[in-house]
Symmetry: C2
DNA sequence: TCATTATGTAAAATAAACTTGACACAATGT
DNA sequence: ACATTGTGTCAAGTTTATTTTACATAATGA
């Protein structure tokens, strides 16, 4: 699942660890999502969208 | 995760099995999501939103 | 040069999503 | 009375998401 996490992070100058902290997940989870190793769960996708004040569809796109 | 699947199904007069077929998942998966036994994966949430031509946030809401 | 930070990745474990197969029950139609 | 349909649920198994711990490497700063 393609996503704009890296860009959204860069805009805020956040490291993967920073983002992980704000999402209460591990740094490896953030890394795995960014590098498309796996997709976030729906609850996590909601958390991410919430954090960036965007809609899920504005951050993630299938395949 | 609260969701409007049952309503959206009812509007179309689809059974859980009908919806499952359209989503290429099992009937039990649809039932489990409707009865909030678990949340769909993000890819499945996208499929559902796509099928109903709605946004994920218009179908699902955290907790 | 040394310590720190950011990122990528791996392995092993647990949790969550999803499958198939099955059974029960209520409602509907023949 | 019988068969069918829709829904809820359970058990056992597979796949996917997430965790912790750990290691490698590149870049930065003292």
């Amino acid at each position: 699942m393609r996503n704009r996490l890296k860009i959204l992070r860069a805009e805020r100058n956040w490291s993967q660890a920073d983002l992980a902290d704000r999402l209460s997940v591990s740094r490896q989870t953030v890394n795995a999502i960014e590098t498309e190793k796996y997709d976030p769960s729906l609850p996590l996708a909601f958390k991410i969208a919430d954090l960036f004040a965007l809609r899920i569809e504005d951050i993630f796109a299938p395949a």
